[in-house]
Amino acid sequence: MELFGIWVAALLTLGIFSFLYKDNPVYKICESIFIGVSAGYWAIANFFDALHKKFWVGVFPTDGSDPNYMLWFGALLGVLMLLRLSSKIGWIARWPLAFIVGATAGLYMMLYFVSNAMNQVASTMRDVIVTSPETHLIMWGETIGSILIVIGVVSGLVYFFFSKEHKGVFGYTARVGIWFLMITFGAHFGYTVMSRMSLLIGRIDFLFRDWLHLLN
């Protein structure tokens, strides 16, 4: 059975790779299988993990604990969401949607503000000249890093300030901001290449090791 699974996985991998030559029916079949299997997997996973484990077991507990009647409210909202399939009463689906948007916004608002705004602003407010606590000598590596953070943050913010024309000193600062943004995009691209290459290496390793047995 394991051997059969390896052969299926290998042929599907080659089928997907065949798109690199050109679009073809084998690729389409492999793509459709992937979509179908994913949809089926998530449907079953959600049924058992959410509907059964969370709702059904919560409402009808078998371990002697008290039923959680609040779950009926969630279930009702879930049913209302399905009403959007009807053209006549589809508008009712906006109510659970509004609940989700409101609850998510409320949950995130303060936490997001503290973690992704205040704490990160605080992280940029650091000593520009960094000295060693023991010797009190300047630590040049950390100092250069701090100066770069200050220049990068200020020039980056200036670039996104569009209420004043980017001319003169303001324009030059914005141009420095563009350079910082470009370096950031370059880092993102480099990491993305690494990520995608890792997946390719994983597949090639599977083909050579598990399927063709070329590697120990």
Binding site: Y108, L111, N119, H188, I201
Partner: protein, 314 residues
């Protein structure tokens, strides 16, 4: 005494063949491009395939020194006393596994070897399968003396994403009344002194999607002032650097971060000398593929500037 010729290994020949192939291929591509001929994209794909496949076959790998951001996580685990408790959350699926499974295995290996207790959980349903891989290759295989419930526990997957985190920051049992084997929370010895995430010594999220480390920081790390660290797929690593070192104390970014951690672990103690190092193995093809991509970028840019100078591009 062996003559220098006899000391040449198959791997040396492989490295030479790979490098010669790549250099000749790049030279051919550069010559074709500079002489104004089209290079079919399929040739580029084939070239990338060989650049990755040859180092995989000939097992070309490099040694890596741990960068401070990786070393910080290693040192944190080293500084934890015996019987500390670390939570490792498997927030990834098989698509991310080639990058992050090696770091998950290395972290488990490091913690268990130092008698640190581990609480495993997942925010991705597919994380359970990946967790099972760690159990079979590391936990049961290398540490058969470690006992379920005492040295480690598997809480499994719980649906709800951020909702789960919002609860466990104050109450574990409310969200996980049992472990994955249906053992009640109150009967699991590892939880004797743990009521919530605030009682943990360190939380490590392994992943790269959502929910992931950002949500852990947002809902658990910052509100509970709990030490956090992460191992993530490379594609999201740059977004997490602003969190270091105040909100996450260490970060393993992609397969390179995993390779650095494996090397740090292997160099630290002779008992890890023979441990599997899948991330380090992947860094050979990774490095050569990057050289090829960088060469493409350089060739493309030289052509762009040359054509612009000639007035062929406005």
């Amino acid at each position: 005494m062996l003559s220098p010729l006899m000391a040449i290994t198959v791997q040396d020949i492989g490295i030479t063949v790979s490098l010669v192939f790549i250099l000749l291929g790049l030279a051919w591509l550069a010559w074709r491009s500079f002489s104004g001929k089209e290079v079919d994209r399929r040739i580029i794909f084939l070239f990338i395939f060989f650049s990755v496949a040859m180092p995989v076959i000939f097992k070309i790998s490099f040694k890596f020194k741990a960068t401070p951001i990786v070393n910080a996580l290693y040192e944190k685990i080293e500084s934890l006393p015996n019987n500390s408790t670390v939570l490792i959350s498997y927030d990834f699926d098989p698509a991310m596994a080639p990058e992050v499974q090696p770091m998950a295995d290395a972290l488990s290996r490091h913690c268990l070897s130092r008698d640190i207790k581990i609480v495993y959980m997942c925010l991705f349903p597919t994380g359970q399968g990946q967790l099972e891989q760690t159990f079979s290759t590391v936990v049961r295989n290398e540490f058969p003396e470690k006992q379920d419930g005492i040295d480690f526990v598997n809480l499994g997957y719980k649906a709800g994403g951020e909702g789960v985190l919002n609860v466990i920051v104050t109450d574990f049992e409310k969200m996980f009344p049992t472990d994955v084997n249906s053992v009640p929370y109150s009967e699991i010895p590892i939880f004797d002194n743990i009521k919530s995430c605030k009682n943990l010594d360190l939380i490590i999220s392994i992943g790269g999607g959502r929910p992931g480390i950002k949500e852990w920081v947002l809902f658990v790390g910052d509100p509970g002032n709990i030490p956090m660290a992460a191992g993530v797929a490379a594609v999201v690593a740059p977004q997490l650097y602003p969190y270091y070192p105040n909100q996450i104390l260490g970060l393993l970014g992609g397969v390179k971060g995993a390779a650095e951690y494996e090397n740090r672990l292997r160099d630290s103690d002779p008992k890890f000398a023979d441990m599997p190092t899948p991330a380090t193995t992947m860094m050979g093809p990774q490095t050569l593929a990057h050289i090829v991509v960088m060469s493409f970028i350089i060739i493309g840019n030289i052509l762009f500037f040359r054509n612009r100078k000639r007035g062929e591009i406005s």
